[in-house]
């Protein structure tokens, strides 16, 4: 029984376990079992007429601390069981009260259907927002990183330029790039640099990953416009060790170690460390015009030779948990570095043999959280500062063809002029959040996020330029206010406003100007019955130009100091429906429809020389989209699901600059954006294979992306002779096999990706890795 079922109210701060503090405190603990003696995980324990409550863990155990002395009624409920109440007495300073319950099964409560599957962090999924939560724990025995897990969510498409560590671009309902913002435990990741990004963070770091499509809740304080991804690392166990190592094709090594030690007094040390390494030396199919320059081969595909990637990251936190003054107070540091070789430019025609990049992150951080600071008031504070740098190294006096042979030349740089520059962005971030429960159904919240950016460039090739380096500073503040009204299992509403203030200092233009923007939104959810939820949300949202869009990144992004803020109307409508044909065949259907209209849409285009991308405004873009997910489970060992996404992005810019006539591509579909894609997965779990406590899981995943045009669909002929550039259909079959022993303490898994070895592309002419095999070993132990 690994089904989790959360039915907590308090939708504002998901996943909060309420702990209350007064002078003389004690607590209660115990275990919940079925009448047959099986532990019940995910059962709800509530101390009535207080804010105390919790859920049982996988072994049916629970613990509630810091309860003041007195008589209480405790209510135990779990789906499929009769609710029980019992009176208990907590004595001042006395020992913890131990109460064990055995619940009898109830047919009348079986209406709520549980579908067994891999994306079921249900409490989050039931918010009024258009949100999907990925239960990361189900993916711990895979070698996926966060972006790989996102790629399986309806409405989400992750486009990669190559193998491990390659550039990626997440698209959510057609929005992509900086329209989407990333958070880790609610803290914006905008300024973490290349060493700590969703394409190198292993899924094992997360407990779940929340994907907000379109309307982004106020408590994720940011000017995201297309959606947000929040990685929740959670705090599952007080004492545990989770270590894994995998080895696979293209000399790929990955390791992850997560551990936490917490003393009885609440002193805690938390460590997360991970590493990725890959040669990425997979074969790339090449056109004849490039092969003709390679001597002595009859092969039509050649191995990549300058694509090695590795990164190493350590996150350490020290502090206290479960204290009267803090649920957690942690001082930490994130240390990381990455090295990335660059094999090609925007097309395989530009091939490099020595060009590479380095970056690092040195980021001290402070985290504080306290629920019920005074009754009903929750406070969260975070601060961090990144001392890291990014560096591009292009100093070779040589050219390369796909044969990998160094051809010396007199001039420096594989790209014109060469480059050896290091820059520090000096990013600082401070966030504060307070929420207060006014009355049973009403709560308000205030959130403020302040960030700084101050780039210093050190041109190592031409140091004389450093004195001339113009000021590049951005300060941004996002102040949010929210009000919510919730009636559990009936309806939920959420109104919020966001006030954004951004100050840009652009030395090269002599500009120092502030912009202020106000946005607002509303999210509603209504339960027609326990199994059918309707939800809708609307937001008027603003996105400010990013520092890298204004100042460039000294590599592929060119500066555009004239970029304007983007404004968008986002409207979502969704249905979640769970049903069963009988006790053993269960279904869950989620369907969403979206409408977006963006004025001054910020998009990336190629610069005039086609060597870099540059962010620019487009007058208007409209998106109509829909995505759906259907999941099925048979008993609790077979699970299958399909997601499908269709989105239609339409160009609404009627006039091009300097022309009075209607643009030929007015109302045309936006090019180079995937618009039809989906996933299918099937997995089967077998218990007690070989030995009691040993489980075997077999899984299959299919990725499908429909072909799409690189350039405007309406232009040019479509017959073969017309050579219209297309990103071809992708079909990738993955298989995995997980054998876990001793109830998950030891795990061996084996993955085969892209088993048919068909060439796959997310971007025109940039081929992704072919067939690969990966072996993963994982050890997990916990003591609660």
């Amino acid at each position: 029984m690994q089904i989790k079922k959360f039915l907590l109210s308090g939708i504002l701060c998901a996943c909060v376990i309420f702990i209350y503090a007064q002078n003389s405190l004690s607590g209660l603990s115990g275990q919940i079992k079925t009448s047959a003696g099986e532990p019940i995980p995910g059962a709800t324990i509530k101390v009535l007429k207080t804010n105390f409550g919790t859920l049982t863990d996988a072994n049916g155990n629970f613990k509630i601390l810091n309860v003041s002395a007195g008589n209480y009624h405790v209510q135990i409920s779990a789906i499929g069981f009769k609710t029980q109440k019992r009176e208990i007495t907590v004595t001042s300073g006395g020992p913890q009260v131990v109460v064990n319950f055995s619940l009898s099964e109830s047919s009348e409560q079986m209406e709520t259907v549980n579908v067994v599957g891999r994306t079921k962090a249900q409490e989050v999924n039931r918010q009024a927002f258009n949100v999907t939560a990925i239960d990361a724990t189900k993916l711990y025995n895979t070698t996926l990183d966060i972006s790989g897990a996102l790629d399986r969510v309806a409405g989400v498409r992750v486009r990669e330029t190559g193998g491990v560590g390659s550039s990626f671009n997440v698209s959510l309902n057609g929005f992509s790039g900086s329209h989407i913002r990333y958070f880790i435990d609610g803290i914006p990741m905008d300024n973490f640099g290349s060493s700590f990004q969703i394409n190198n963070i292993p899924i094992n770091l997360a407990e779940r990953v929340e994907v907000y499509k379109g309307v982004v809740p106020m408590w994720l304080g940011s000017d995201a416009l297309g959606g947000a991804v929040n990685i929740v690392t959670g705090n599952k166990h007080r004492n545990y060790l989770d270590a894994s190592y995998s080895y696979g094709s293209f000399n790929t090594h990955r390791s992850v170690v997560n551990a936490s030690v917490t003393s009885k007094s609440g002193f805690t040390v938390q460590l997360n460390a991970f590493q990725n390494y890959s040669d990425n030396n997979y074969k790339t199919d090449l056109p004849q015009r490039l092969l003709s320059q390679v001597q002595g081969t009859t092969e039509t595909s050649l191995r990549r030779f300058n694509d090695t990637y590795h990164n190493e990251t350590l996150i350490a936190n020290v502090g206290v948990v479960d204290k009267s003054f803090a649920d957690n107070l942690l001082i930490g540091i994130t240390l990381g570095e990455n090295y990335k070789e660059i094999q090609t430019g925007a097309r395989p025609d530009a091939v490099f043999g020595q060009l590479h990049r380095r970056g690092n992150i040195i980021m001290p951080s402070l985290k504080y959280k306290k629920t019920n600071l005074i009754k009903g008031l929750d406070v969260t504070l975070n601060a961090n500062y990144n001392f890291g740098y990014e560096k591009t190294i292009d100093t070779a006096r040589a050219d390369y063809d796909w044969d990998g042979i160094r051809d010396p030349k007199a001039t420096i740089g594989e790209r014109e002029g060469g480059q050896l520059a290091k820059y520090m962005n000096n990013n600082g971030l401070a966030t504060a959040m307070a929420s207060y429960k006014i009355a049973e159904h009403h709560s308000v919240a205030v959130n403020n996020v302040f960030s700084t950016f101050n780039r210093k460039t050190d041109n190592l090739l031409i140091p004389a330029n450093n004195a001339l380096d113009p000021a590049k500073k951005v300060n941004k503040n996002v102040l949010g206010f929210g009000y919510s009204y919730d009636v559990e299992n009936k309806w939920s509403s959420n109104f919020f406003g966001k006030y954004i203030h951004q100050n840009n200092v652009i030395g090269s233009r002599g500009v120092s100007a502030a912009t202020d923007k106000m946005g607002y939104g509303l999210a509603l959810a209504y339960y027609l019955n326990r199994n059918l939820q309707l939800r809708t949300s609307y937001e008027k949202t603003n996105r400010m130009p990013e520092a890298t869009e204004i100042f460039g990144d000294l590599e592929n992004q060119e500066a555009n100091p004239a970029l304007k803020p983007e404004e968008s109307d986002n409207l979502n409508f969704g249905i979640i429906y769970n049903f069963q044909i009988n006790e053993i065949n269960r279904f869950s259907v989620t369907a969403n429809a979206v409408y977006r209209y963006s004025a001054d849409f910020i998009y990336n285009r190629l610069n005039n020389n086609q060597t870099k991308t540059v962010a620019d405004n487009r007058e208007g873009v409209r998106t109509l989209g829909t995505d759906a997910e259907i999941r099925y489970s048979y008993k609790n060992w077979l699970s299958a699901g399909t997601t499908i996404t269709y989105q239609y992005l339409q160009n609404l810019q009627q006039y091009e600059p300097n022309y009075s006539g209607v643009s030929p591509v007015y109302l045309d579909q936006m090019p180079n954006i995937p618009y039809l894609f989906g996933n299918t997965d099937v997995s089967a779990s077998f218990r007690d294979v070989g030995k009691k406590g040993n489980n075997l899981t077999l899984g299959y995943n299919l990725l499908y992306v429909h072909a799409f045009w690189l350039y405007w669909p309406s232009l040019g002929g479509r017959d073969e002779a017309s050579d219209k550039k297309v990103i071809p259909l992708q079909l990738s079959h993955d298989l995995n096999f997980v054998y876990s022993m001793k109830n998950g303490r030891y795990n061996i898994s084996f993955e085969a990706r892209n088993i048919t070895n068909k060439p796959t592309f997310d971007n025109f002419s940039l081929q992704k890795p072919g067939r690969g095999f990966y072996l993963n070993l994982r050890y997990f132990i916990n003591k609660s």
Partner: protein, 407 residues
């Protein structure tokens, strides 16, 4: 149980609601098979590739890139024709440029080959080849500052030779000779240049014209033809030389040399001459374009034969290094006359004029692409005999970047 299935189907049906959105459809224009090739760039500021379309006539009819045309990867492309072959070259600064070669079969483009070449700033047919030169914009940190040249055979469609040139040698003044274009004159290659001190394209020598002369196919530097009566010949990516029927070479100067963001040449925009068989400027010939045209400078030209050119002209007051004139004039280099073309759209209604145009060199007609600010695009037929212009072929969907004819 039946109702739950119905509900599920309902939910799925809602997902299918947002599916059918159709684009506005302008009346489709059919293909127009023929031996004229037009390169058309869409009027759009993103996701733009060029499209090649054929036409049977430039005098009338219509072509469209909506639903028609051979797509060309990349935004900046240049086109050159030699004999019966059409070369489409990608300009991607610093990156290799892909080159695609076509011929015409039954009025349609037929792809013969594609290959990778360096990105170059000048290219021209020489004998049965295409000669291409990549010119440096900055001095080399160490050693000589070199330009690279490449020869592609138009017979085999493959690169047959490559080498380097000393890019500083031709100017004799220490500045880099940035070739404005290349021209075969007799059995030599003439490379007119503008002298630059770096990426800003500035010069300390605004009142000098120079043409570097090379042997072919060895590409050995032979000499530099110099003249101090005008500023430099041609412009960035613009051909300022033409060889007329009697073998004489004519050259124009726009007088747009720059220093510190200011035009610095004291010489008027002019046309000069190199007599057939010689490698010196003819000091007996000078056509002061500004006086002949009553106040205009020449910014580009198209030779129509019999010593006549269709020239782009710009009032002297608004000239600039990258300003292309939106007025046309017929220039007779022997008669030294300039007559403004009538019947051509007003300069204020013109967005841009095509750089690479076509003439059958019959001494009379030239075909010039015009992109109007109302979004319509036309080929204008220019009659040099009465300096008039009439609308010809209509192009839908974009700007004409080149008009070529393939045998």
């Amino acid at each position: 149980m039946k109702s739950t299935i119905t509900k599920a189907l309902m939910a799925l049906a809602i997902t299918a609601v947002f599916s059918s959105c159709k684009k506005n459809n302008t009346d489709p224009v059919a293909e127009n098979p023929g031996n004229y090739v037009l390169a058309v760039t869409p009027v759009a500021s993103t996701g733009v590739a060029d499209y090649l379309v054929t036409a049977s006539s430039l005098d009338e009819g219509a072509v469209s890139i909506i639903g028609n045309g051979v797509e060309q990867d990349g935004t900046y492309r240049y086109y050159v024709t030699t004999g019966n072959k059409f070369f489409s070259m990608l300009y991607g600064q610093g990156n290799p440029g892909a080159v695609t070669v076509y011929d015409i079969k039954e009025g349609k483009l037929n792809k013969l080959n594609d290959f990778t070449a360096a990105t170059v700033q000048a290219f021209a047919p020489v004998n049965d080849d295409i000669l291409m030169v990549k010119v440096p914009r900055a001095y080399a940190a160490t050693g000589a500052t070199l330009a690279n040249w490449y020869i592609v055979s138009a017979t085999t469609n493959k690169q047959t030779a490559e080498g380097t040139l000393d890019a500083v040698l031709p100017t004799g003044n220490g500045e880099i000779a940035h070739f404005s274009w290349l021209k075969q004159v007799g059995n030599k290659v003439f490379a007119p240049y503008f002298s630059i001190i770096g990426r800003t394209f500035e010069t300390e020598h605004p009142d000098e014209a120079g043409i570097a002369v090379y042997s072919y196919p060895a590409m050995q530097y032979e000499k530099t033809i110099k003249d101090t009566r005008t500023s430099f010949i041609g412009r960035y990516f613009t051909d300022g030389l033409e060889v007329v029927e009697n073998g004489d070479t004519y050259a124009y100067s726009s007088s747009v040399a720059v220093k510190g963001g200011v035009l610095t040449s004291t010489k008027p925009s002019s046309i000069t001459r190199i007599k057939s068989g010689t490698t010196e400027f003819d000091q007996t010939y000078l056509m002061n374009f500004e006086t002949a045209s009553n106040g205009y400078v020449i910014t580009n030209w198209l030779y129509v034969g019999q010593n006549k050119f269709v020239a782009n002209v710009e009032p002297k007051a608004t000239k600039g290094a990258y300003v292309t004139g939106k007025r046309l004039a017929i220039v007779d280099v022997v008669g030294k006359t300039v007559s403004l073309v009538t019947g051509f759209p007003e300069a204020t209604t013109i967005s841009s004029i095509t750089t690479t145009n076509y003439s059958p060199k019959d001494g009379r007609y030239g075909y010039v692409g015009v992109n109007l600010t109302d979004g319509t695009t036309w080929v204008y037929k220019i009659d040099a005999s009465n300096h008039s212009a009439v609308k010809g072929l209509k192009v839908t969907g974009g700007l004409i970047t080149a008009i070529q004819h393939i045998k």
